[in-house]
């Protein structure tokens, strides 16, 4: 079990409660489940890393249990009861300084400190669809849901959110535009948050600016966007909708850069690799696909037997080896350098191709300009 789990580079949770580890080099999915006690109760809602070094996976199920799975040992090491199934499904899970943060659909955001049974509770409104943690400032979390706008909370001051978004202006018929935040992500190196909505909008909010309305709004497709992820290079975002359409959107102007083809079912989980231009998607068509963001081609496709209901997470070290399918260890290093060079060349090509050096007035960060040129 341990050797199997160490080979896996992508982790997927399924509807039946099985945690699947997928090894891209072997193109195979391995099942890790506890004592073969499968039930629909154990359906995995959320997946999260338990620690910085990505050796522990936290699995949140419908019945309110959070299990810890160790990738080195290959077994579930711990189970905690964090709420009941009556409180709704988990919509987000995160870890800060040995405290576990969980959020459920009814809006109850809890911080479970290790050792003590009392929890810090925040009410994030009703119908929360997603909760995410800021990777740079670990005590900040964002929540959003149906008719529940984006709110950023600081866990040290749990009474009020530090940022509450405002809905956009009434549309051309003077009707209120409905709000449905499905997924969000913190843009690194800045305060901004990008969200995708069930009304096929992608919005960027900036807490640093005086306006609480979105700074940028983009549309894609006609179906609800279910998942979102930020790739390694800045100023683009990958979104997926219920029809299996994946698109890379540019955040400077809000235009569609390209679509990734291949998915036949709704996208449930989307994760970009932290350094390589790769994105892994899992969805209702029972396949895990890894696409390359540069040429938008399909790199890997693995069949997982059950519907994947939750996130895929990838380990960076393993994926670099897998992409090149290297067998010798010495070769790995060279291959890694090769891939890095390729990325830079392509980025330069893109900069010359894209004549749109127009940077919107709102985005004042100079870092982005450097990347373009």
């Amino acid at each position: 079990m341990a050797d199997k789990s160490q080979v896996c580079s992508v982790w997927v949770g399924s509807e039946t409660g099985i945690l699947k580890g997928v090894s891209l080099s072997k193109k195979q999915a391995f099942n890790f489940c506890e004592m073969s006690c499968l039930s629909r109760d154990q359906e995995v809602c959320v997946l999260g890393w338990g620690d910085e070094h990505e050796t522990e996976v936290l699995v949140g199920s419908v019945n309110g249990t959070v299990k810890t799975f160790s990738t080195e040992k290959g077994i579930f090491t711990e189970t905690r009861q964090c709420g009941e199934s009556t409180q709704g499904r988990f919509t987000g899970i995160a870890v800060t300084d040995s405290a576990l943060i969980t959020c459920v659909e009814t809006g109850l955001l809890r911080v479970w400190k290790e050792g003590s049974t009392d929890t810090v509770e925040i009410n994030a409104g009703t119908n929360v669809c997603r909760m995410r943690q800021n990777p740079s400032q670990r005590n900040q979390v964002a929540t959003g849901g149906k008719e529940n706008g984006l709110k950023v909370w600081d866990l040290e001051r749990p009474e009020t959110p530090i940022f509450t978004s405002k809905n956009v202006r009434n549309d051309w018929l003077d009707l209120r535009v409905p709000e449905w935040v499905r997924d969000m992500s913190f843009i690194p190196d800045s305060d901004k948050i990008v969200t995708c909505t069930g009304h096929h909008q992608v919005r960027v909010y900036d807490p640093a600016s005086p306006q609480r309305r979105p700074v940028l709004e983009a549309h894609f497709g006609e179906y609800p966007l279910t998942a979102l992820s930020l790739p390694a290079n800045q100023d683009s975002v990958v979104v997926g909708n219920t029809h299996g359409e994946l698109a890379i959107l540019d955040l400077r102007k809000g235009l569609v850069r390209g679509c990734l083809k291949g998915l036949a079912g709704g996208v449930r989980g989307l994760q970009c690799h932290p350094s390589l231009p790769l994105v892994a998607t899992c969805g209702l068509d029972r396949f895990l696909r890894v696409h390359s963001l540069e040429d938008r081609s399909l790199q890997h496709k693995v069949h997982t037997n059950t519907l994947s209901f939750s996130y895929t997470l990838s380990t960076p070290e393993a994926i670099t080896g897998d992409v090149e399918e290297v067998k010798e260890e010495g070769g790995e290093v060279d291959e890694v350098w090769d891939t890095m060079e390729m990325i830079n060349d392509q980025a330069k090509k893109r900069a010359t191709d894209e004549e749109e050096a127009v940077v919107t007035g709102v985005e004042k960060t100079t870092k982005k300009r450097k990347v373009v040129k």
Binding site: E15, T16, I18, N31, L38, S39, R40, G198, Y223, P224, T226, T242, H243, G244, K261, A264, G265, G266, L284, D285, R286, H303, N305, T306, L307
Partner: protein
Amino acid sequence: MDVVEEHDIQDKPTKKKTKKPKKQPKPPHENGNDSMIEKTEPEHVDAPAEFSFPPTFSVSEIKNKQRRHLMFMKLKQEKRKKKKKERDALGDKAPPKEVPKTIENQRVYDETTVNPEDEEVAFDEGTDEFSAYFNRLTNPKVLITTSDRPRGRTVRFCNQLATVIPDAHVYYRRGLALKKVIPQCIARGFTYLMVINEDRKVPNGMVLCHLPDGPTAHFKVSSVRLRKEMKRRGKDPTEHSPEVILNNFTTRLGHSMGRLFAALFPHDPQFVGRQVATFHNQRDFIFFRFHRYIFKNEQRVGIQELGPRFTLKLRSLQKGTFDSKFGEYEWVLKVIIYYQIHVKCCTSKRYAISP
């Protein structure tokens, strides 16, 4: 008269070999018209070893299509005989017979094909939306309706479907919204909602929604033949529940579809009445046929086609009840259109329902 006879003989050079020797002395007289035929004649003469046609002659040089065809058939027959002789001569050492390539042969193995011993799939199916039906907890009750303002053909099709599916009720649509119909159906104990869509007076689509919270399948319906149009059909179907045959639903998606169709009919292994409904899946098209069978003896069966026949093609499978805007799709048909220089052709991508 002689001339006429000669012409007849010349026109059918391959028919009877006995006639050929008669022809031999005649050719010098008919050089004008029959120079071509002369060339072919000597081929059929057994006795003389010398051929009077050039060695580079081939069957394709004959301009007359009929004669060319006949010559070609002859050539093929001889080749086949020769090959068979060689094969028989080799006996056991003969190389194995080559299997001809067909589309089904050349298919890439689909990795989503379900292994019968797969526990995960078995568990998945044991606890999915159809498990209540397969555990004999519910009996199917189907509501058949159409799109708004149906024309005669669609109405007749719905009525015939209602005779085929036991415990089916046909209702007029009258402009009601499906999302409002569904809660009412659930309240009245229906397990299936079938909506036949009509376009230009012909049924062309079907939405099959499994109630309480089951998946919704959207099909394209084509080749609908009503009872009147069937040749050599039997009498009308009776009230007995038909047997169900599901062919080639081997992949994971195929399994879901198979279960969807199976749950339309009552689950009773003791068949009464000799009626059978067949859903045959081939290359992602599902053919529906309804027959009555009778066993003449142990080996032979006679079948009579009754009832409507139609073909279905899955367009999308959506989780949950009908919600096309905000529902989550488990599978969507994505059509890739290939553009060639002069011809636009529409080819669909290989998808996971076929073997």
